[in-house]
Subunit: 301 residues, 2 copies
């Protein structure tokens, strides 16, 4: 087991303020705790946090691009520079190398406390399994979505997002803060238990796998012309079938789900995704059998 440092990023989106407070709280009550694994804390986007907005130029959590595909004109963006700074400092080859990155986010959707994974890295599965085992957290596995790439945790060998909601942007909520604090506190303990063979990974990991995102109904001018239907709002993680209501438009018409397959929508009505033209994302439930290889890969970090 060579995990020496875990990077905890809060404020990757400047208007998601509860994780920043949770870190402040942890640093007060927890920083005297001596432990083999060290936490490094950083505010992802301090300029946006200062202003209370999601980002300055572009979404920081879409700015950790592979260099070969990278659009050169974005080099002048604040978030591009900030992404480079974070990797140069805390990346696996950085000046303070961290093996794991945990990125703390909030959502206006009613996601509860949940985990977001990007792709199927076995190390991430191991870490997610530890947390799902401990807290029963649902997992959104984001993959095969070419329109959304460059996520922060992908720039580290292992990492995941903790996503908690519903909470409004820029609104402090002590219950949400408590939930982040519990996760931060437990992370090292769970890794320790695994290392000392005090726990086994659960046999199965239940994940909700991204299928596609859908936009709101729009009028002829392209403006949003539909609310999330009253029967759909706040119903994240719950299965829908053909004929179930999705939107209610300004004519009073209900727009229904027309697919033949069952899907589980997540990020329903997330305010920040309007600009991305996402009203919700459809997922499918998948059960992945756990595997000793997950632990080997994780322990070789």
């Amino acid at each position: 087991m060579t995990v020496q440092r875990i990077l905890i990023v809060s404020g990757t989106h400047g208007n998601e303020i509860n994780p920043v407070w949770a870190v402040k709280h942890f640093n007060r009550v927890g920083k005297s705790l001596i432990h083999d694994i060290k936490y490094e804390f950083i505010i992802g986007n301090p300029a946006a946090y200062e202003k209370g907005c999601r980002y300055i130029h572009v979404d920081l959590n879409r700015s950790f691009k592979e260099s070969e595909n990278f659009d050169q004109h974005k080099n002048s963006f604040y978030e591009t520079k900030r992404a480079n700074f974070l990797v140069d400092k805390f990346g696996i080859d950085g000046s303070i190398p961290c093996q794991i990155a945990i990125d703390l986010h909030t959502t206006t959707a009613n996601m509860g406390t949940s985990i977001v994974l990007y792709g199927r890295r076995l190390k991430d599965f191991c870490l997610a399994a530890l947390l799902q085992n401990k807290f029963g957290l649902p997992i959104y596995l984001h993959e095969k979505d070419k329109s959304q790439t460059g996520f922060l945790v992908e720039a580290w060998p292992c990492g995941l997002v903790i996503e908690i909601g519903a909470v409004a942007q820029n609104f402090y909520d002590s219950k949400i803060i408590d939930r982040f604090s519990v996760i931060i506190r437990s992370l090292r303990e769970e890794i320790d238990k695994l290392k000392n063979n005090l726990i086994e990974l659960p046999k199965e990991l239940v994940v909700h796998v991204h299928q596609r995102s859908i936009d709101y109904p729009r009028d002829e001018k392209g403006d949003i012309d539909g609310l999330i239907h009253p029967e759909r709002i706040n119903q994240d993680w719950k299965m829908i079938k053909k004929g179930d209501p999705l939107f209610l438009d300004s004519q009073g018409i209900t727009h229904e789900y027309e697919g033949d397959q069952f899907v589980w929508p997540v990020f329903i009505g997330e305010v920040a995704y309007k600009e991305k033209k996402i009203a919700m994302s459809y997922t499918k439930k998948e059960v992945i059998c756990s595997n000793n290889q997950w632990v080997y890969e994780f322990e070789s970090l």
Copy 2:
């Protein structure tokens, strides 16, 4: 009774989107209704609404200033021009004169459905009494606050704000929309009933009168260093006394209310008021006896 037109303004703050939708809805189901009193609908700040932010340059709902006190350099601001446009078009001497202005707002604070009055205009008391009588709405009477002036409805002979919360900025909530729709629908009906002597004003108007606003605890750098206390959040309109908790700071210390007099806090933790350094506003409860003069003044509009 000479009320001919009522101006209904939604989107005065561009990130308060539910009233805009309520108006859209009313125009669909209610525009065919013939009535002596005509509604004029307008989006207060269309540029900010487009962008999903509160304002472009300055708060539109603080931009309706008396001309003699007016800071000339603000003439270039989008909101200053917009305020002038609204008064020139819908003001009492405008091209489409409206006698009453109703400004629809949402708040992230748990205010429920409430009325905000600015000062003690008898016509406003009459209108507020009609609504309090019908719906039992609490009233926040904002007065004697030199740091906050230039509210939209003050530029009309009669007017008030309908303020509904808690709801997040930019988040559609069909329950909140329904509440605005009910008020819009009922307004003319209640005025009709008064005109036709079908109702009397209630004997008393209960108001919560603004006393002062308080800021969050701040650290030596001037940054906010305190949450609204878990026992205080969402407790708008509820009385507090000396020793009751207000904030919880990052050291885990509870900051208490230290005044000797009972107060009733409102707009607790309103996200948009952070930039105004307002964590909550204290009010005192006052009962005002209603008066025939209110109706005379209202009917002479």
